[in-house]
């Protein structure tokens, strides 16, 4: 046995051993440094699909043309990857200069860590032009930490042709009518609902909406402060969702399905293989991107009311997207945001169908009839609740997603779901 071979074996062993505790961070160091008199604004966003992608790119180009000393480094990153990279970067005590945020619990943690700039004073002159619902997710303790760019709500996107084929003439307005619709679709040999079980967040919409319809907005707000999710509305929401899941309404193999892959939730609806999905205002554009798109066959109806529930059918559940500014970002970052929020520019992106209006008086720019329905439902909403996985602290939001996914998979009872979320909420 030669020396070389023995050393090699030891070396291999040692290397593997030390690799035992993998999972370090890869926070890319970056700084908004002015090199050569130029100011760079690094901008992380999730505009990876059209038409938003080219709008954002155009904004960056136009702004740079007007301000030759500024370089906008536009980095569109896919949603899930964005969240993972952002977490890593935050944990090294940094943020990009300008970045997408959904507000709520995650933004609050970033604020508490001193990573985000308070915009209340600097943007006060033009903050008043946004609708209150659009600004709400970014307000922490009376201060505003981001500028809204999109706002919307979750509802059912359905295939009119498939509904007609199953003999459903109008979209259901109550939960029992909804369950009937699912049964009729199944009887007609149509997959009623597409669901991305692998990604968990689409499933939490059902539970959250049911809790909202049964207990009203007050129940959700109450739970956010007393951390008690074992109250009747939450358990009842679980029971109703279990009733639905027991009908086996989802596509084959939905537990492993992703959202925007070629065989995922959006593509199934977009290709006419499933009759509906519960999704936010971006659903049509993802259906077009991942699948063929339904064109005029696509319709929208709000989440039905639950009989005897305290919540109104006009209460909206959703969220938007906005841009926050890193604590150490150059002043140009805010100026660029102001530029993007100019009515002319916002009107353009609204007209393209990429986002819904966050500015007052731009509602008429919504061209697509379905999105116009969403915009109308939103502007006439009797109340608004931010996505639970954004509104609550991240651990609670993820527990909601995880537990509801297990409920749908038949691995947890409605009571266990309520218990698990309560435990996490109390320990945060």
């Amino acid at each position: 046995m030669s020396l070389g071979r023995r050393s090699a074996a030891a070396l291999v062993a040692a290397t593997l051993l030390l690799g035992g505790c993998g999972g370090g961070g890869d926070g890319e160091p970056k700084a908004a440094s002015g090199s050569g008199g130029k100011v760079t604004v690094e901008w992380w966003n999730i505009g990876t699909t059209e038409p938003l992608k080219s709008f954002l790119a155009r904004m960056a180009t136009e702004y740079q043309k007007q301000h030759p000393n500024v370089v906008i480094k536009n980095l569109p990153i896919e949603n899930e990857a964005f969240k993972a990279r952002m977490t890593t970067l935050n944990q090294s005590g940094k943020t990009p200069d300008l970045f997408t945020t959904w507000g709520g619990g995650v933004l609050k943690q970033q604020v508490d860590a001193g990573l985000v700039k308070d915009l209340s004073a600097d943007a006060s002159s033009w903050m008043g032009s946004f609708t209150p619902a659009a600004l709400q997710p970014y307000q922490v303790d009376g201060k505003t930490y981001a500028i809204p760019a999109d706002i919307g709500m979750v509802g059912f996107w359905y295939n009119k042709a498939l509904f007609a084929k199953a003999g459903v003439t109008e979209p259901p307005a109550t939960w029992s009518a909804y369950v009937d619709t699912v049964k009729k679709l199944k009887a007609a040999g149509i997959t009623p609902i597409a669901l991305a079980g692998k990604e968990k967040w689409p499933g939490h919409y059902y539970w959250a909406y049911l809790a909202m319809r049964i207990g009203g907005l007050a129940a959700l707000q109450q739970a956010a402060t007393d951390h008690d999710f074992t109250k009747p509305p939450f358990v009842e929401a679980g029971r109703r969702l279990k009733e639905l899941a027991d009908l086996d309404p989802f596509q084959k193999g939905f537990l492993g399905a992703a959202y925007n892959t070629p065989d995922g939730q959006a593509a199934l609806v977009g290709n006419g293989k499933a009759a509906m999905e519960l999704m936010g205002q971006w659903a049509p554009s993802v259906e077009n991107e991942a699948g063929k798109g339904l064109g005029d066959d696509l319709g929208f109806f709000p989440f039905p009311a639950v009989e005897g529930g305290a919540g109104k059918a006009t209460d909206a559940f959703g969220g938007g997207g906005g841009y926050a500014i890193g604590a150490d970002a150059p002043a140009e970052a805010l100026d660029f945001l102001k530029f993007m929020s100019e009515p002319k520019n916002h009107r353009d992106v609204v007209a393209s169908g990429a986002v819904l209006p966050v500015l007052k008086g731009v509602e008429d720019a919504v061209k697509d009839p379905n999105l116009a329905t969403v915009a109308r439902a939103l502007s006439s909403a009797s109340g608004f609740q931010l996505y639970l996985d954004q509104a609550y602290p991240p651990a609670v939001g993820q527990e909601v997603n995880d537990s509801v996914a297990e409920l749908i998979a038949g691995k947890k009872t409605p009571e266990q779901v309520a218990q698990a979320i309560t435990e996490t909420a109390k320990s945060e």
Binding site: Q91, L255, D263, K411
Partner: protein, 336 residues
């Protein structure tokens, strides 16, 4: 024997060890003793050459391990500088009361057993076949080894398409004989499916290890056995297999450590689902660290992962690989 002496010498107090007349009779005594200054210069040279590597090693390997161990006893979201909410062993108590984590340990054990019982014997069998003189042998070797070169993420994406329940290649082909399955989408089939993909990806690597080991066995040995009247099974069982021992031992080691740390493939294929049924320790750690911002708890999981790997590595090296690595670390001095 020499190894035992070395260990005892390392264990003795440092002052005694530095003494000019140490109890190192085996190697040192025979060589002419160098002068004190000469030896000091020698040590300085060694230190100068080691320093850069040691610094990097300390900064990139040791420091993160220490930070992980330190933060594992805190409740910490990873933001706001160093943690200050000390909670003692609460993270570890929580971990060993958590069904998901206990499930991770069980699933890890299952994957290890399957790897050792199915994947490695299969790789060995293929290696023996491809060691025969046959047409196109190099092509086969290359084809079987190719999956190992692919990144885990590409493998994951590839198989999530192949195993897609609706219109995936696997169901398209197997559907013709009525053997459709939900593969990764069903809690009861996800682990076998995952193991299938793991085997596809890694058996080629172990095959190459065995092939190389097999080719290191001199022809004379097997020929001698054949002349003595041994059949091909007997040659394999009593000559090839024992001589492949060192290769098999390192291959088992790599396989086990790989299974303990499995992450990328699972993350891309299933994300740990459905309903945690394919989650591994590393996936759980990622979930808590990056999705829930419970970095203290995630670090506690990583500490346990590290401890499991470390204990396995030490025990395995001490009792199984002893003959293969004996003297590897101390050989330098004996040659001086």
């Amino acid at each position: 024997m020499r190894a035992a002496q070395d260990t005892s010498r390392l264990a003795s107090p440092p002052g005694e060890r530095r003494a000019p007349s140490p109890a190192a009779p085996a190697a040192g005594a025979a060589a002419p003793r160098p002068s004190r200054g000469h030896r000091l210069r020698g040590r300085l040279t060694i230190a100068a050459f080691l320093l850069p590597a040691l610094l990097l090693f300390g900064l990139l390997v040791l420091a993160p391990i220490l930070v992980a161990v330190y933060t594992s006893v805190f409740k910490w979201n990873g933001l706001r500088g160093l943690p200050d909410d000390f909670i003692g062993t609460a993270n570890f108590e929580r971990m060993f009361a958590d069904e998901v984590f206990l499930g991770d340990l069980w699933r890890g054990a299952v994957l290890i057993v399957l790897s050792l019982a199915v994947q490695l014997p299969f790789a060995l069998g293929v290696a023996m076949l491809l060691n025969q003189r046959m047409r196109g042998r190099a092509v086969y070797r290359m084809i079987f080894f190719a999956p190992y070169i692919l990144s885990e993420v590409i493998t994951g994406v590839l198989f999530s398409m192949i195993l897609s329940p609706d219109g995936g290649l696997a169901n398209l082909v197997l559907g013709t004989v009525g053997l459709e399955s939900d593969w990764l989408s069903d809690p009861s089939t996800v682990m076998p499916s995952l193991f299938l993909v793991m085997t596809w990806k890694y058996f080629g690597f172990h095959m190459i290890l065995y092939l190389t080991g097999r080719q290191g066995i001199p022809h004379e040995v097997t020929e001698a056995a054949q002349i003595d009247g041994a059949g091909s099974w007997q040659v394999f069982r009593y000559v090839t297999l024992p001589l492949l021992g060192p290769t098999i031992r390192i291959s088992v080691f790599l396989s086990v450590i790989g299974a303990i740390q499995l992450f990328d493939l699972v993350w891309v294929l299933t994300g740990g689902g459905p309903a945690h049924s394919s989650e591994t320790m590393a996936v759980t750690m990622f979930q808590f660290g990056f999705k829930r911002y419970q970095v203290g708890y995630a670090n506690a999981i990583s500490v346990v992962m590290f401890a499991v790997s470390l204990v396995f590595a030490l025990v395995y090296q001490r009792y199984v690989m002893r003959r293969d690595t004996e003297g590897a670390i101390t050989a330098m001095r004996s040659q001086r």
